[in-house]
C-alpha cells in the first residue's frame, strides 16, 4: 500500500467557526500526516472558510487524509487539485541583508523574477514575490547568498481553471476515487 512520495494539494470548504483549524491540524498530527503548508481564509460565503493543504505523502496517505477529513462535521467539501487544471499561487516576503553595494544585483534578479521591493532601509530590503511555489523556491535560492534575515510564505493557494468550483464538486478529484 505504501508507495512513492508525492506532493498533493487538497482544497476544503469548512465551517467558518473558531476551532476548525485546530480540528484539522489535530487530525494531521494524530494520524501522522506530513503537511508542507496550510492556507486558510474567509470566503465569499460568510458561513464558509477555505483551506488549502499541501501534503507530502503516498497515495495511501492522500486517500486516508481526504476521507478522514471528510468525516469531520465542519468539513463541507473537499477535493484534491489536479496539477494540469489549476492555478497555484503563493506569496513570499523575504527580508534580506542589502547594503548599497549589492542592491543593484538584487534589483536585477527582481526584474527577472518580477519581484518587488516593498521596504528599503540602509542595510535591508523586504522583497515580495507572488507565483507558483516552485518559482518561489527558485527565487529564494538565488537571493539566499545575500543573507535572508527573515522570511514568510503564505502557503499554496489554488483554484481550478474555468468554471469549475470546489463547492460544485461531486467527487474527491481525479487522484482519488
Amino acid at each position: 500500500m505504501e508507495g512513492q512520495l508525492k506532493k498533493y494539494t487538497i482544497g476544503a470548504l469548512v465551517s467558518n467557526k473558531s476551532g476548525v483549524l485546530t480540528r484539522i491540524s489535530g487530525l494531521f498530527a494524530r494520524r501522522g500526516y506530513n503537511i508542507e503548508s496550510i492556507a486558510a481564509c474567509a470566503t465569499e460565503d460568510p458561513e464558509l472558510s477555505r483551506m488549502t493543504v499541501v501534503l507530502v505523502g503516498d497515495e495511501y496517505t492522500l486517500y486516508q487524509m481526504i476521507r478522514q477529513m471528510d468525516k469531520l462535521e465542519d468539513v463541507k467539501k473537499i477535493g484534491c487539485a489536479n496539477e494540469l487544471d489549476c492555478v497555484y499561487r503563493e506569496l513570499l516576503l523575504a527580508k534580506v541583508a542589502a547594503t548599497a553595494e549589492v542592491r543593484s544585483q538584487i534589483t536585477l534578479i527582481n526584474e527577472i523574477y518580477k519581484a518587488k521591493v516593498v521596504d528599503l532601509s540602509i542595510d535591508t530590503m523586504i522583497l515580495e514575490l507572488t507565483g507558483d511555489p516552485e518559482k518561489l523556491d527558485a527565487y529564494l535560492k538565488v537571493i539566499e547568498p545575500f543573507g535572508i534575515l527573515e522570511m514568510q510564505r503564505t502557503g499554496t493557494t489554488v483554484l481550478a481553471r474555468g468554471k469549475h468550483t470546489l463547492k460544485d464538486r461531486d467527487c474527491y478529484g481525479d487522484h482519488v476515487n
Binding site: 500500500m1 480540528r23 476521507r67 471528510d70
Partner: protein, 550 residues
C-alpha cells in the same frame, strides 16, 4: 415559550426520547440538575464516579441501540468522562456527553474547575460543541443527537457554559430529525454478488457495524442461503446466534481454531461492518493472501485503510445483506463446522471455561453479558454463548480495564434484564466503587470475578515474550471480596477451586433476581491459565498456537 437554558436542555433531551441519564452533579451544572429536578420525568442514575457514568451510558447505548446520555460538571468531572468517551469512540457507540463549564465572563482565566474539555475530547469524539450563547443551545443539542446516531455512530460532547444555563431564551419544541438512510449502491451490491457467486468457499466475517445496523435477520438469511460459515470479530459477537450451525465463533488473536481454519481455506471473505483491526488482521499484508475480499462498511475512510480489498461497498450492513440475499445463488456447504466444534482447544484445565459455561445455563434468558478487559474477556468471548444481538458489552477497540462495572449498570437499565458481568481482579479494582451504585439502584447483577491474583493477560505476554519475567503483574492484594461486597450492601459468594460451580451459580443468580441486588462471586482460578488459541501479533493465521508449548 421563554425559559432558562438549563430547561431548554432538559426539554431537548425529552424531545429526543431520553429516559435515563447517568451522571454526577457539581458546581458548573447546578442549574442543569435543578432543571432536571423540576422536570422530574427523566430517570437520573447517580454513579460513584464520572467514568462510571460514561461507561454506563455506553452500556445503555449498546443494549438499546439508542443514544446514551451522561452528565458531568466542569473540570475534573469532565476529565473523568474522558476514558469513557474514548471507549465509546473506538467502538462507535452513540453517546451524548453534557458537561458544564464556567461562565463566559470567567472563561479562559484558569477559573476554578475550568478545563478545555472540548479541546481535550476533540480526537475522541465524532464532534463536540462549546455553547456560549443560549440562542444556539437547542439547535446544538438536536444536532448532537443526530451526529451521534447517524452514519458511523459515536460520541458527541456538549460543553454548556454556566451563563447559557441561566440565560432565558425562546424554546420551540421540535421533533427529532429522522436519520437519512444511506443510499444503497445497487451496482456495487451486484458486483459483490457476482464475486460471491464466482467463489467456491465464501466466509462471512461480521463486525461491530453489523451489530450497530441490527443486521441479525438478513445476515442469518444470507448465511443460510450461501451455506457458508460465519465468523465474527469481538465487536460482532451476538449478531449471529452462537447456537447457529454455521457460526464458527470469534476470529482473531484469540479466535477459535474453526474460524482460523475457515479463513485460511476460504477463497472469498465477505467482511461486513468490520475495520480489520490489528487484533483480527494481525498481519495486514498476509491477511487476504490472494483471496477476494469484499468490504461492506458505512465509513468510507475504512476502505483500504488496513487491508487492501477487492471490492468496497459503502452501505449499511442490513441493507447490503438484504440486497445480497436476493442476488446470490445457493451453494453447497464447503466447511464442516462440526469437526472443530467451534470451541477452543486445551480447555480442560481452564476453570474459567467451566464457570462461564455454567453461568450461561444459570443466567436468565437473554441476559446481557458484560466484560472487562483481559483474559476473562477473551474466555467469555470464546465460550459464553450469546443467542441474540445487543446483549454483549465489551471494550473492544480501546481495551478499557474498569469498563465493566459502569457498563453493566447501563446495560441493566437499558435492557431491564438481570446482567452478567465477567471481570478479573485487576479490572474490578479499577472501578469497584460502582458496586455501590448497583446496590443503591437495585441492579440484578451477577459479577463473576475471575480472581487469579495476577494481571493474567499481561502475565501471559510476559510468559511468551519476556521469558517469564513477571514484572508488576502479581497482585498482592489482601482484599476479602466477600466482606467487601457485603460492606457495600451486595451479596458475596465464594466459588473456590473445588466447589460445585452449578450449585454456587444457582445461588448467585437466584439471589440477584429475587432481591434485585448485585451478587459478587469470587471465582478462584489459577494464575497460570492461558488464553488459547493464540496468534502472535503480526503473524499469519497458519501459525495459530493451540498449546503454550507450541
Amino acid at each position: 415559550m421563554k425559559m432558562k437554558g438549563a430547561d431548554i436542555l432538559i426539554n431537548c433531551l425529552t424531545e429526543q426520547g431520553v429516559d435515563t441519564i447517568f451522571g454526577y452533579p457539581g458546581g458548573a451544572v447546578l442549574d442543569i440538575y435543578d432543571a432536571l429536578y423540576r422536570n422530574g420525568k427523566i430517570n437520573h442514575i447517580l454513579t460513584a464516579h464520572e467514568q462510571g457514568a460514561a461507561h454506563a451510558a455506553d452500556g445503555y447505548a449498546r443494549v438499546t441501540g439508542k443514544v446514551g446520555v451522561c452528565f458531568a460538571t466542569s473540570g475534573p468531572g469532565a476529565t473523568n468522562l474522558v476514558t469513557g468517551i474514548a471507549t465509546a469512540y473506538m467502538d462507535s457507540i452513540p453517546l451524548v456527553a453534557v458537561t458544564g463549564n464556567v461562565g463566559l465572563n470567567n472563561l479562559g482565566r484558569d477559573s476554578f474547575q475550568e478545563v478545555d474539555i472540548a479541546g481535550i475530547t476533540m480526537p475522541i469524539t465524532k464532534h463536540n460543541f462549546i455553547v456560549k450563547d443560549v440562542a444556539e443551545l437547542a439547535d446544538v443539542v438536536r444536532r448532537a443527537f443526530y451526529i451521534a446516531g447517524s452514519g458511523r455512530k459515536g460520541p458527541v460532547l456538549i460543553d454548556v457554559l454556566k451563563n447559557v444555563q441561566t440565560a432565558e431564551y425562546d424554546y420551540e419544541p421540535a421533533k427529532p430529525v429522522p436519520l437519512k438512510p444511506l443510499e444503497t449502491p445497487q451496482g456495487k451490491i451486484k458486483a459483490a454478488a457476482e464475486i460471491i457467486n464466482a467463489s467456491k468457499k465464501p466466509l462471512l466475517m461480521i463486525g461491530g457495524g453489523a451489530a450497530a445496523s441490527d443486521a441479525t435477520v438478513p445476515l442469518i438469511k444470507l448465511a443460510k442461503k450461501l451455506n457458508s460459515p460465519v465468523t465474527y470479530t469481538l465487536m460482532g459477537k451476538g449478531v449471529i446466534p452462537d447456537s447457529d450451525e454455521n457460526n464458527l465463533g470469534m476470529l482473531g488473536m484469540h479466535g477459535t481454531v474453526a474460524a482460523a481454519k475457515a479463513l485460511i481455506e476460504s477463497d472469498c471473505i465477505v467482511a461486513l461492518g468490520t475495520r480489520f483491526s490489528d487484533r483480527v488482521a494481525l498481519n495486514r499484508k498476509l491477511f487476504a493472501n490472494g483471496k477476494k475480499v469484499i468490504h461492506v462498511d458505512i465509513d468510507n475512510a475504512e476502505f483500504n485503510k488496513n487491508v487492501p480489498v477487492s471490492l468496497t461497498v459503502l452501505a449499511d450492513v442490513s441493507a447490503c445483506a438484504e440486497g445480497l440475499c436476493k442476488l446470490v445463488e445457493s451453494k453447497k456447504k464447503w466447511f464442516d463446522c462440526g469437526i472443530y466444534a467451534a470451541q477452543p482447544t486445551d480447555s480442560e484445565n481452564c476453570r474459567a471455561y467451566e464457570i462461564l459455561r455454567a453461568a450461561a445455563v444459570e443466567a436468565p434468558e437473554n441476559s446481557p453479558l458484560i466484560t472487562d478487559v483481559g483474559q476473562h474477556q477473551m474466555w467469555a468471548a470464546q465460550i459464553y454463548p450469546l443467542n441474540s444481538p445487543r446483549r454483549f458489552c465489551t471494550s473492544g477497540g480501546l481495551g478499557t480495564m474498569g469498563y465493566g462495572m459502569g457498563a453493566a449498570i447501563g446495560a441493566a437499565f437499558g435492557s431491564g434484564k438481570p446482567c452478567v458481568l465477567v471481570t478479573g481482579d485487576g479490572c474490578f479494582n479499577m472501578n469497584l466503587n460502582e458496586l455501590s451504585t448497583a446496590v443503591t439502584e437495585g441492579v440484578p447483577l451477577v459479577i463473576l470475578l475471575m480472581n487469579n491474583g495476577v494481571l493474567g493477560m499481561v502475565r501471559q505476554w510476559q510468559k511468551i515474550f519476556y521469558s517469564g519475567r513477571f514484572s508488576q503483574t502479581t497482585l498482592k492484594k489482601k482484599t476479602d471480596y466477600i466482606k467487601f461486597a457485603e460492606s457495600f450492601g451486595a451479596k458475596g459468594i465464594l466459588l473456590d477451586k473445588n466447589d460445585d460451580v452449578k450449585e454456587k451459580l444457582e445461588e448467585a443468580f437466584g439471589y440477584a433476581v429475587k432481591n434485585c441486588s448485585p451478587v459478587l462471586v469470587d471465582c478462584r482460578i489459577s494464575g497460570d491459565d492461558n488464553v488459547l488459541p493464540m496468534i502472535k501479533p503480526g503473524a499469519a493465521y497458519e501459525t495459530q498456537l493451540r498449546k503454550m508449548e507450541d
